[in-house]
Amino acid sequence: MTEKLVIIGNGMAPGRMLEHLFETAANRYEITIFNAEPRVNYDRIMLSPVLSGEKSYEQIIIHGDGWYIKNGITLYKGHKIVAIDRDAKTVASDHGVVAPYDKLIIATGSVPFILPVPGNNLAGVLSYRDLDDVNAMLLAAQSRAKAVVIGGGLLGLEAAAGLEARGMDVTVLHLMPTLMERQLDPAAGHLLQRAIEDRGIKVITKANTKAILGDKRVEGIELADGRVIPATLVVMAAGIKPNAWLAKDAGLTTNRGIVVDADMRTSDPDIFALGECAEVDGQVYGLVAPLYEMARVAAAHLSGADTSAAFVHNDTPTKLKVTGIDLFSLGDFADGDDRQEIVLRDAAAGIYKRVVLKDNRIIGTVLYGETGDGGWFNDLKKKQVNITEMRDTLIFGQAYQGGTPLDPTAAVAALPDDAEICGCNGICKGAIVNAIKQKGLTSLEEVRAHTKASASCGSCTGLVEQVLSLTLGGSYAPAAVQPMCGCTALGHDDVRRLIKAKELKSIYAVMQELEWKTSCGCSKCRPALNYYLVCDWPGEYADDYQSRFINERVHANIQKDGTYSVVPRMWGGMTSANELRAIADVVDKFNIPAVKVTGGQRIDMLGIKKDDLPAVWADLGKAGFVSGHAYAKGLRTVKTCVGSDWCRFGTQDSTGFGVRIEKFMWGSWTPAKVKMAVSGCPRNCAEATCKDVGVICVDSGYEIHFAGAAGLDIKGTEVLGLVKTEDEALEVIVALVQMYREQARYLERIYKWAKRITFDEVRRQVLNDAEKRKGYFDRFVYSQKFAQVDPWSERVSGLHKHEFKPMATVGMAEAAE
């Protein structure tokens, strides 16, 4: 007598299992399937193309009705199993059908994770699991209104792309800082975000959904930071949970999913589980390859064809099914000491490839833009091939293996004369070679001047240099540019130029487009890049605090013992009884061990515990103090003398002008610290002639000085020029600082920068050229709109709380015993 096999669920895993079963034991079982969905088996992976309109439902059916008839399967469509009676060996459906079984397969799949926020049950809130969801989305898309997709993982992005293709205005909300963070490293995540945004889909990362708004229907989403995004459709794609409730009710062992052994049997030997609902060796799966492997194993045991078949975990590559976006991710791609990485970035082509090696074997791979070699890398990883021999060319892919190692110059030498070198200006190799020969060019600058090759975006600079050295042979000596750090061959000036030219607006964008050699940068380049971006894109760039030195992250100065010092601003060095009293009270209240008058005419409180900083600032804030930025690469102090207010020699109101400059310019970030001073007469009591910018007041007006130093180097200032009024003096000083902000290299003080570009050039631009001066001034004023926020009061109100509290205190009770 044939045995009865009952299957709960009609997804891809049981479908594949049946195919295997029919190959080896076609007539052994009488098969009954209960499908909660009123459908046959279709390819769920292809739901995204159905959503986007690239495919129809009919095209993604795996097993049509005829297949079930041909194989003698009884398929109950739209029947949900509500109970399993293991003693009687029967299952019961919600329509009252009771079916006996000898062997039972549970393949109930998974359910979407619904965010536990208010409004999650409003009409218009959908998940993305089956064809019903897709049909509901297609209906909603007819309105061409606004949609929000919660979740920037594989499923969420596919849903977003599909809805966008159907004409909706789509915003993706993602809790983490980068998209698909479980499959992609941040660099590839950034590229993906750009590609998604290029399609017109808005992406908000670090978006914490607080509530779904609306009365009966969805009207919008509120984020934890208070932003409200209007939407008439909300798709939850924030993850899935194995659907194990039925098994649990039946008393089977469950954990995250239904626990099965490597043979796919549950704790009841007559009941198997497979697919997304099954948990093998502590793992649950959502990608199709391991689910098909489960199907193969289960079929082998059910047919008796191979009773030793066992499920083995394998890393499965991930791919995104959005037309025009190629990405591939496999294995473990975190970096570490015992691992090496090989990174290839081709900015022009939008390609990022990263292979992570351990003991000369591949353990992980991320490919973006060009994924053709994914299968090859996967194969090398699976077989644990030692790649030492091909290490130099590994990243280029399979096509480059086997021959002699590639010399980059040889590759350029092999290019035909009509091969394009500079894409921006359409210059081919032959044109460059001819120019070099005919005009006797010997340097990169000359080639740029004569041919325009590499004169625009500059990303072909390396190629042009190779053409130069090929044409000139040994006589070509490329100009030595000091690279920013070990992560790049580019110098600071090139990086700054390219950030503007290519409109790079995030650290990851810079690293990708400028072909950084590391995935995450280092402590030298990250603060520099953060400054360049803060300076160049005010209001657009989101300051990356994790790329700032600790002092600028917590707005205080770290001391040798790990405590901090705090210096409040005293405008122009002026203070009052109330301010001094407030400082005295803070010193008492927090037992601050040292108080010192600084060289910049203010008061430093030293030895403050980090945990106390917000409370110290709260008290100082109540007395009207703001941060003195004594820790910042930014405007520090404006020192003054008492000027015409009190001094019998004073010619102008030097105190008032100093206060005015400080109030105008505080909060601005600069390449290195900026210290200023205003003296009321040439006796120069404020010591203005050794400052970055100084003013000497005279009867006829204001003599502006710059480029002084009194630290590692001692240097008197240069005179910039004399202006008649305070307003003019302010405009010149602001323009000078803005020019410095835009042009200097990170950590380069004004005196070094000005000497490098020549003092006359500074004079020409900020003193003699009124239009340039006005431009600098206006850009400074604009950037101050975003910079003049007191960092202390922000932190008193709770910003970056995590910085000031220990994460936990553990084990102290035991220690006390």
Partner: protein
Amino acid sequence: MTWAFIGSINDIPQRGARCVETPIGKIAVFRTAEDRVFAIEDHCPHKGGPLSQGIVHGAAVTCPLHNWVISLETGKALGADEGAVRTIPIRVDGDKLFIALVTEADRAA
């Protein structure tokens, strides 16, 4: 040895660190850009700088006092500098973090 619960991985910013107070002193718990976590003594082998306050890059941290670069995996100084800090075993369970504490009983045994 006991595993002590210290909080969620989400309590630590990516490319950042937090401190945990323990009987053996401050422990710095790091989270990399790729969500790997590490725990090491919060005490640079050079001059005792608080490593938890440094810039995190790759699986390394740069000490805020004198720019020594310490490997989060081995606790050893990288580059030309020589020295090491203790690494503390850390376990991730879902998003929960646990560090290994050596108790008096372990020490006696």
